[in-house]
Symmetry: D2
Subunit: 288 residues, 4 copies
Amino acid sequence: MNQNPIPDNKVIITVAQTGAITNKKLNPNVPEQPGEIAESALDCYNEGAAICHIHARDPQGENTSDIDIFNEIHGRIKEACPIIIQDSTGGGPNLTQEERIHCLQAGPEMASLNMGTLMRVSGPYKGIAWSNMPDEIDYYVDEMNKGGIKPEMEIYNHAMLQDVRRLIKDGRIKKPYCINIVLGMRYQGAEPATAETLTSIVRQLPESSIFNCTNVGSAQTRMGTLGMILGGGVRVGLEDNIYYRKGELVSSNAQLVARIVRIARELGKEPATPDEAREYLGLSPQNR
Amino acid sequence: MNQNPIPDNKVIITVAQTGAITNKKLNPNVPEQPGEIAESALDCYNEGAAICHIHARDPQGENTSDIDIFNEIHGRIKEACPIIIQDSTGGGPNLTQEERIHCLQAGPEMASLNMGTLMRVSGPYKGIAWSNMPDEIDYYVDEMNKGGIKPEMEIYNHAMLQDVRRLIKDGRIKKPYCINIVLGMRYQGAEPATAETLTSIVRQLPESSIFNCTNVGSAQTRMGTLGMILGGGVRVGLEDNIYYRKGELVSSNAQLVARIVRIARELGKEPATPDEAREYLGLSPQNR
Amino acid sequence: MNQNPIPDNKVIITVAQTGAITNKKLNPNVPEQPGEIAESALDCYNEGAAICHIHARDPQGENTSDIDIFNEIHGRIKEACPIIIQDSTGGGPNLTQEERIHCLQAGPEMASLNMGTLMRVSGPYKGIAWSNMPDEIDYYVDEMNKGGIKPEMEIYNHAMLQDVRRLIKDGRIKKPYCINIVLGMRYQGAEPATAETLTSIVRQLPESSIFNCTNVGSAQTRMGTLGMILGGGVRVGLEDNIYYRKGELVSSNAQLVARIVRIARELGKEPATPDEAREYLGLSPQNR
Amino acid sequence: MNQNPIPDNKVIITVAQTGAITNKKLNPNVPEQPGEIAESALDCYNEGAAICHIHARDPQGENTSDIDIFNEIHGRIKEACPIIIQDSTGGGPNLTQEERIHCLQAGPEMASLNMGTLMRVSGPYKGIAWSNMPDEIDYYVDEMNKGGIKPEMEIYNHAMLQDVRRLIKDGRIKKPYCINIVLGMRYQGAEPATAETLTSIVRQLPESSIFNCTNVGSAQTRMGTLGMILGGGVRVGLEDNIYYRKGELVSSNAQLVARIVRIARELGKEPATPDEAREYLGLSPQNR
């Protein structure tokens, strides 16, 4: 389907430990504070994760854009292990567009870049857009480029490939293009975490793309495994899935990393180290 | 791909004559006033169109929800020919949610039902959602059901199949499910009018679907022809495409109907008459 | 893609222990004699296999159609464990068409039915067809029907679906239709064991099909896992793959069953017991 | 799907006038003798055909490899018009492998190269392979290369892409790779002329391929049109289809060319002239 610069016997594992929605009430093992996040990142690194996707919380557990907290998270993780730090710019419903990219000042190696707008269908923000319009995307990617930060483009449906193609055409992003296919979100505009959807999107990826694969909820393991077989990376973690299996809460992010790594090894794939992933993804050494 | 209740040697042609965006400034042959709309509908019927998709304008050419104008359009068309009347509930950016379904009171046989939210990326409404949230969809479809009006579900991307599946699961729509695949719109969230997109969506249609195929701009003829080959209907008209070919404005809606009918006949398909289409689509005789 | 009568949390594992080509020279752990075959079948059953695919060898290790040997294999397996016995009618290049179905007299619950002709491209039979013409297929399936033996239709490419459709149309096979997608064979006419091929064939399977998935060589584990994710069964075994991983010979058929079962369990699927598989596949109790 | 060196507003039309199976008994308008073939080629050229696919018959109407007859056909066509001459090396059941390439001595610009073996399922040669084994393919392509003759690779199913890939890997063929997708043949091993099959094969074509699209029987027009929309050329002619529509025999090859050209023009595509086609396909001037 898509040609792949990553060796056939390697897979890049990303862990999304915290998220903007999950919290200790839903699963007490969600790491929220800098110390918890760094400690969990070390465990995940030890199990085989190469990239750590970061959301920050204030001491009350609310989503925050406080640069001091991001700096503290980055510092503690860097002390603990050489995992790649990827900050989320998806933010949370309580953060402004401007606040969502404060984190770039903390100098992550990567940052997520949401490639389109979804509509919230439940909760207090029901009917409110999670806005990521073309102008906003351009502004975010320009800021990332200034800081030598590699964007991982999050696409939640086929249509978001349109803005990916636009960024390529405009020369705003560099090869390899990192695209994370995120399926199974509960928003209007999201697509389901099915094999039909995943294979169809993979088939439409632009040349020179490296893809990652995130599946929310119980499909995380099967669809992540499918993504791996198709040559992509896999993202796991409590941000996307709080149950290890039906009726059993995840005990730690490392537990989810360990499972996908066991599957990878059965399939003849070794988890890429952070340094291998840096090379495959073409990360700038600037923020290391 | 999708099993089809329509005979292999028939094709349902819909004409979308007016739209909410195109106007006489863009192409002087856009029919706007009731008399123009009815006269053009007769010409399109004579060329082979079975369904006429209706947008109403006030005497100044602005989008309107005025029920008197809808009544006048319906009356004049019914006097002229037996074409099926399908009112748009897509409205225009100046109409409220409530205004968009005023037209149902005029008792059309069909009405369009937009199955998701798109974001405007240009013009005075840039950044503003064209909102069709699940609650709104439910409200619209319930109103159509009360009036015995068959919804044609407009989907602009793969993701909108989610709300189609939801309506089926909730029992809110009846077989056959009429789905119009609309590609090539200039909104964030829309998908391009390509063979890859069209075949991929057709493959994912629910069982017992009848599909129609609308492609905005220069792809109208090729992608409409592809849709016909895949067993679907085709929508043409000035709403979607103001050029007959590069640099040449469409001279009338009937000119576009005539072209797609010529192609259909070369491919061994005769345009369905309105009565044949009524039978295939399972329209209620109530609003005839 | 294809609707599936098998529960989402179950997977049918078949083991193909011996084959017609592999032998003790290629891997000393290939079971050839009745006692070896039965002992290995028990181990595979204990690891989770529900079906055992059988090829018979004479005391010199040559492919044989000797009914006494088939009877002995069946008898010893039945003594050892309740695994489903599926005899191969693919035979070997030294067997006639008639000899290839001698085994049916031994009364297996299932038998393989090869759905088309492939051309040998190497070895002493290079250029010679492995013939499975429509008349031969019909003759074989009629014999199976007489004995209450369920055919598993082996398809090696997209084109063989044509004869599957013909058997369905002619009423020669009963629902559910058991189809084994066999990829990666070294014949002219075979298709490669790739995700693109497997997903494309699965998409074209007739309604009411149950599919199994066999991948020859090093793709066995990844493509088998893909098949499982798509809702199919998986066949593993020394017939199809003599290396456990690059440079390491398989130590036993049970080793391969154990690996695919570990993956299945990580993916939330328990191997179906023989009795569960009998129910899903609709096997006749006649030959149990 | 596949990147295409042919301009979007052009389409290469091939006419297959005679074939090895159709004859004057099936349709009296099949041109068999050199004069008939040349006269019909001129008419097809005038309607828009760029390539003429040639089978030769002896004075009794039997398939022949007689080089004098090929020379006469070539000479007469060249006198009549500048259409590209493409000789068939598919031969007929009465011709040996060696005889099938006699025609190359007549120095055509192109020749067909059959990429795999199919099994005859009816007629006097029922059960006999139409053999095109890898060794034979290699021999044929080497002979074509010696003569500066461009092979058009005929593939009848997905599996034949394997030998295409092999020729590319072995460096035996030059870019652009000309591939003719031939569907709907009545052989075991052939695939049906459906949109699902055609789009699936197009998706799997190697980079730098130019494809042509041949559909046997009543699907010729619809599937040829689909091929054109996907960016391919179209082959029509009495070799593949003797009915213009149900119950009405084709009156001339030119009638079929004229129909596909009318469709092409409705779709905004002009038939490529022979010289344009020579350029797109990279034909050597040697045999012009």
